[in-house]
């Protein structure tokens, strides 16, 4: 079997493993629940957005702008769901093999470490994408019914950026997982890095130095939402605008996420290659 064949085998094996796991069903239930709530929200407030936003200034908002605001609100969920999903699927990917002693069996298989890690990475990415795509599918369906419109260009742009975001956050979780030998440490570390360390750096830089920490993954990922309305819900530094994010901002955020993907994946490949089954 060639390298590509081995990679495909690893990928299909772990993809099956992931979608049969409890984590997948937890995430599935969670995303269905959130989709249901957002569906209710869209039906309930489709004609009452000014009341929901607490003002009268948006009374005569044009239809297309109304859809943009709703898309922005829907996209808010996409900033966190991929993180949870990729942490569930990616964090234990390497550390669990060490902790559960399964590494003894896997490392002795006639499959290269690189193929093993890349196959696992692609499987974790695919399952996270499936979870996120279910939500995006709900969004498209609800908008079709409520606003009688097909998904706009910004919707597809947001979806494309979401895919890059999932690739980058999965890469980060694999890097952390390759460092630790215990699942719990890997889980907690990714959550701490993403939700605490990144936010603390962002707050310090923005409040003390008025500097927009564009290089942080959580800030870059907000582009998934900002392609609709350029207001970041997770950054203090962003001045914000009702218009969509500029092309410059889209390119910058995309490049930051690509850099996280490449650096995280290559670093985890090298660390994983040197790991020993203990």
């Amino acid at each position: 079997m060639g390298r590509a064949g081995k990679l495909a085998t690893v990928y299909s094996h772990y993809f099956t493993n992931y979608y049969r796991s409890r984590s997948f069903y937890v995430m599935l239930i969670l995303i269905l629940l959130i989709s249901g709530l957002m569906t209710y929200f869209s039906f309930r407030y489709s004609h009452g957005l000014p009341a929901f936003l607490g003002g009268t200034q948006l009374q005569n908002l044009p239809h297309s702008e109304m859809i943009r605001v709703f898309s922005y609100i829907w996209a808010f969920v996409l900033l966190d769901i991929p993180v949870f999903a990729s942490v569930f699927f990616g964090s234990p990917s390497i550390s669990s093999e060490i902790e559960n002693k399964t590494a003894y069996h896997i490392f002795s298989l006639p499959i290269g470490r690189y193929s093993l890690l890349v196959g696992k990475y692609l499987a974790a990415f695919s399952v996270t994408l499936v979870i996120s795509a279910i939500y995006m599918g709900f969004e498209a369906g609800v908008f079709g019914i409520v606003f009688h419109t097909l998904p706009s260009g910004a919707y597809y742009e947001s979806f494309g950026l979401l895919i890059i975001f999932i690739l980058s956050v999965t890469s980060l979780t694999f890097l952390v997982s390759s460092i630790f030998s215990k699942n719990l440490y890997a889980y907690i570390s990714v959550f701490l890095i993403y939700f605490l360390v990144f936010n603390v750096i962002d707050i310090i830089l923005s409040l003390l130095y008025s500097y927009n920490a564009f290089f942080l993954l959580n800030n870059a990922s907000s582009i998934v939402q900002r392609v609709f309305v350029n207001l970041s819900t997770n950054s203090f530094a962003s001045s914000g605008s009702f218009s969509p994010a500029s092309t410059h901002e889209v390119i910058i955020s995309t490049l930051v996420m690509v850099l996280y993907t490449i650096v995280g994946l290559v670093a985890s490949l090298f660390i994983f290659e040197r790991r020993e089954a203990r």
């Binding site: 044009p62 350029n230 410059h248 490049l255 290559v266 290659e273």
Partner: protein
Amino acid sequence: MSPAVRKILILIVAAGVIVPASYFLFTQLSSSQAQANPFSYVPADSGLVLEGQYNSTHLYAFSSNGSFGILLPFSVNELEIFANATGSTNGTYPIVSQNSTFMSQSIYSVRNLNLSLFAGLFGNSSNSILNVALQFLKINNTTFFASDAGTYGMVLGNLSGVEQSISSYSVKQSFSPYATQYLSSQSNYSFYYSPGKLSNISSLNFITGNISDGNSNLHISIDNSTGIGTNLIQRNGTVNISISTKPGNIYISLTGNYTLGQLFNYASPYLAKAGL
């Protein structure tokens, strides 16, 4: 393939992505920062530049040889949306229409603009920073022209002002490098005035002012040869006045409870010496 060769190949491929991506990121970032800097859209040769602040919202205005512009923190698209959304309560709707293109950038004409539209942003009183800017620039137009000013927002002014603003960003000859030197974003109002070469006030180089409640400063820069008087520190009621002079420079500082009129009263003898 040996593991070492594989490692080197992976590193080469990774570097092949990381290096150009980082370079491209850097260039995009520089361009994006310039787009987000309002002073990138203020012409370098502006004779008058004003920065006003109200509830952390900043407004920038410039004027030069009959051209003027005001930089507002929202796009032309947003102006249209919010103007139409709130127009029903004000009774008038601004009419925004495409006017022309200058250096590949669209210029729009804005008619029936009711400035009370911006009350939420800049205040509604006659002393609001927008009204002060309009009075400062002696603007009473009913038809304006507007163009998007990068990610900062938009420039609103007369046609030549908007064109000069676009040009200053495009050819990178803006007021941006001088802004931090002359203006303070911490003050309620901050201004720079330079009569320029065309003026007959030959002895005055420039005046800058940073004006806030309770603490204001004026800096008058004049020719070295002009007589400028002596240093002074005095207390007048609740107002502390400090005037210091160095060759070619006069610094006037007021603290306490004072009016703008008092500030300029203290400055006027020195402005008179400079020929104003």
